[in-house]
Amino acid sequence: MMSRTRRRWLAGAAALAGGLAALAGTPYRRAVARAPGAPRSPAGVIDITELARIVTDQEDHVSAIELADWLHAGRPRLRVIDLRTAPEFAAYHIPGAEHITLDRLAFTAFAADETVVLYSELGVHGAQAWVFLRALGLHRVFFLRNGLHEWLDDVMSPTIAADAPAEAKAGFARISELSRSFGGLPRVLGGDPAVVAPVPLARRRGC
């Protein structure tokens, strides 16, 4: 049986920890960024005019090559979010990606200074998630335009015709270097068959 004194010490410690908790702010590692005056719950506010402008100006998405550049350069405060199912994520995901499904996104904490890139199998869920996070007040959020397919096609297995113009070949050389840094396999179509090899791909279905 624990002594009365010890119990009082433990109760005091719990009261102190609880009291300080009320003053300590959020326990989340990253505070959720919210627009001024936005509600505290996951329910958000959409500025339709602003969102329409961003979409029109194509500032809502990134290409797979852009994302690869960001990852390769070690862009600070970058978070890549995979919205697919857990088995799909386990089978393959973009290096460094976190797995957060669409229904849990609103309950995930993001800091205002983080750059968030969302992707799913195709582009649809990524775009929908982009709207959700914009509604929650995040500004530096993008989705991968054509989802994981674009990553697999453009980064993991980029191709170029053997008789492509020199300018295109120069660009492809840079992409090839980027691709290899992620374990990809650039291919020259109609060129040396030795470099044409199958690339392990994730299952392609749904979005």
Partner: protein, 190 residues
């Protein structure tokens, strides 16, 4: 480096982690003397509040631990799964569970502890639990509507009440400490 350090999406991984934590939980229950049905039913007769005190202490330790580890950056709470809530079916399930616990004097966890320590009533309760699971499975069709009713997603008290996490932590600590005091006074008066 931030916890959780182990993440698993596989059934085998989840079962392995559940096995380890379950054994630790059972050991703690046994140490607290909760393998005895007499001790458990004592709280319903207001003679022994050990169960209340042990369980509420566990809640306090876990809650304060999660809050402060998260606040200090050791644990990333955003990566800790919160089970979904189905309000009405869980209230009904809680009532059925409570009635069964009052009648048996054991809950599923303590029944395993009781059985492991050689008590026949523990084995009987485990058999009853499995019989209930099988019966529910066989008669699931008419329960389906209730089963799917009032989904609320991964609801938390702070989100539900719209108050900061820290305020909820303080409230739960206050309720626990007041509860402990009242329980000991009742025990002392008997």
């Amino acid at each position: 480096m931030t916890a959780p350090w182990i993440e698993t999406d596989t059934t085998a991984g989840a079962l392995a982690i559940a096995g380890v934590t379950g054994i630790a939980f059972g050991a703690a229950l046994e140490r607290a003397g909760l393998g005895s049905a007499r001790k458990l039913v004592g709280q319903f007769y207001a003679t022994d509040f050990t169960v209340f005190k042990v369980m509420f202490t566990a809640i306090l330790v876990a809650m304060l631990g999660a809050f402060w580890l998260g606040r200090l950056g050791v644990l990333d709470l955003a990566r800790v799964a919160v089970p979904d809530t189905w309000l009405v079916p869980q209230l009904v399930g809680g009532a059925v569970f409570g009635a069964g616990m009052a009648m048996a004097g054991l809950c599923p966890g303590t029944s395993c502890v009781a059985a492991a320590s050689g008590r026949g009533d523990g084995l009987a309760v485990i058999a009853g639990v499995f019989a209930g699971v099988v019966a529910t499975g066989l008669g699931f069709a008419p329960l389906r509507t209730l089963y799917d009713a009032t989904p609320r997603g991964p609801l938390t008290v702070p989100a539900w009440l719209g108050v900061p996490y820290g305020a909820v932590v303080l409230g739960v600590v206050a309720i626990a400490l007041i509860g402990f005091r009242v329980a000991e006074r009742i025990e002392g008066a008997r």
